[in-house]
Amino acid sequence: MIYKVLIFSLFLLLCTACQKDAPSPPRILSLQINCDTLYYNHGVVVTTDFSPIDSLLFTMSLSEMGSYKYLINGLPMAVSSIDEQFQGTLPLDSLFDINNLSTVSHTITVDLYSHTGEYHSSKSTQVVLLPRDQVIPTSNLQLAPQTAVITNQKILTTDNRILDSITLSYSLPSTESASITVANRTVTSSGGAGKITLPISDFITDISNMNNLLIPITFHTNSGAIGYTDTLLLELLSHLPDPYDSYAWHTRFDENDFNSSYNVCPSANISLAEAWKTTRGAGVSIAVIDQGFEKNHEELLGKVTKTYNAEDNTTDVFTGSSAHGTTCAGISAAPLNGVGLGGAAPEANLILIAAPSLSDAALVRAFDYAREEGAGVISCSWGSYNVSQLLSEKIQELYDAGVVIVFACGNDNINLDEGNRNDESELPTVLGVGSSDEKNLLSSFSNYGSAIDFLAPGGSYTLGVLGTDLMGPSGSHEQMGVVNNNYAFASGTSFSAPLVAGVTALMLSVNPSLSPDEVRTILIESCEKIGIDAHYNANGFDTQRAYGKINAAKAVTLAASYR
């Protein structure tokens, strides 16, 4: 028995030894080509740096040197004695039909055989052939700037400077001279890198109704090897893009992860972005009577024409630690300037009036100051359910003088018609505003009543409207993980009112003669009827939703033609 085991073990050892000694077949370890992207143009194949090319250089790395046969894409090549690192050339006409070039990705496969014809190994790589006239490598040809802003009949750079010229930068092979035609101007380059600067007036003669600018480029190397005709795009924006616009669901709808995660209804906004194509409120002053104005907020700098403290007769409006006034001011008129987000009337001016105690005397003074300083509309995000005769008469006085006054109607989810309430927002001389939310429904907290006129976005308990907060870490902490500390999401009718004030400013900028009643009529006529279980009567009024939610674009269109 012991002998049998020993013999079997010896047999196994012999087998193992035999396996170790058996030679493994040679293998291709790697296959590389010198250009994996080629362009073709007018029957000429060029590299990405414009050099004409008729064959590829390939490098093959083998597991051992030897005498081999190899096939490239099935075509037999000569039997060679091949080193471990082998280089060869591959004529392009063996890969492509050179007279009938087309966009294609070509696979190059090398099959390795022994000199006796025994198959060993294969390896593949790819080369892509692209039409040159559809490809503009940005490293070779660049337009600067690529984006500009048209505002107030001026063309500005995105950092707010007058744009007077555009520059085309190019990069050619150092040996290749070329003629480059941009629009109607042709320059000659002796090769290498260069720039062509042309006045913007060559491209834009009529600034009104200007859309994106397509600039034709013709490019011919003098050898004839390279040449194409194409257009470069100068994108013309209607305003400077603000980084947080995409979170401002009350102004417009963007399809993005933020809006998806909060189930924002695409029609929850009030079409402000659309209205801004017509006007941004230039020439109109919005007075905001509130408290806690940070007049040096990055979105209010340069916007504020006057500040006034109606309590102590000073210009100090940064009263208390609240950001309430700052938020209301920003929501009504923050500029489109590449910072934060745009307010409802981004080119309107702001008059900030603090009345910290909201005493009867301070309010009379505040409203009178707003009129003295030429406010076209006054935004008020406060109320008492107990309006004074004094304030009612002062508001009547301003109404008679043509000043539009907007009041938020409060956040207690109550019917103002009940319970002996006499709220400022119910006065017939003001626009009373309730709140809609991101689902395009009545906000659950919004007050309502027969004297309220319409709704505007004020958010919900889940998601507020985005506005200006105190600068830095103080203020609200409702940044929702998407905006910095200078901004916050805030909910309440307090933020619906400045939106209506801003839309009113837009309307007054296209039709300054509108009376407060005409503004109300237009806003009501352009309202959208919202609400799943709403019951709008024959006059278009619903008890809780008033005449519906305002629409800025429609209101501005109606205002422009209103006589």
Binding site: L358, S359, A361, D368, S384, Y385, S388, G410, N411
Partner: protein
């Protein structure tokens, strides 16, 4: 019995009722029992019959028939200082020791005024 009367007097004095004129009517206010009436700045705390809270500041607001009548008011009433609110409306700071409701109602009834009331801070409904 004397003690009961004394207690009632004390209770009434801390629950003083005042009135002023607004929208052509007398508006009665009950002094708030849970606020310190003699707090700083002469502020006193009241509530309307509907429960709205109002605070007086020791000042009276008067709307005059004409700006020319201002000197008459300054001579006639115990006014310490004044501030113009608009062309016809003035905030009058009373000399100490005078009840703002008594003086506001006197001025209100004066034929040279259109209207007068204490300067109130009305409790605001809350912001979200």
């Amino acid at each position: 019995m004397k003690n009961i009367l004394l207690l009632l007097t004390l209770l009434l004095s801390t629950q003083a009722e005042e009135y002023f004129y607004e929208f052509g009517e007398k508006v009665f206010l009950k002094e708030s029992s849970n606020r310190n009436s003699s707090s700083e700045n002469g502020f006193r705390y009241f509530e309307t019959k509907h429960g709205y809270k109002m605070t007086t500041t020791g000042e009276v607001i008067v709307k005059l028939q004409s700006f020319d009548h201002l000197s008459y008011f300054l001579k006639t009433y115990p006014i310490d200082s004044y501030r113009k609110l608009d062309q016809q409306t003035f905030l009058l700071k009373l000399q100490s020791g005078h009840n703002v409701f008594t003086m506001a109602n006197k001025i209100h009834r004066d034929s040279m005024s259109i209207y007068a009331q204490p300067n109130f801070i009305r409790e605001q409904r809350g912001n979200r």
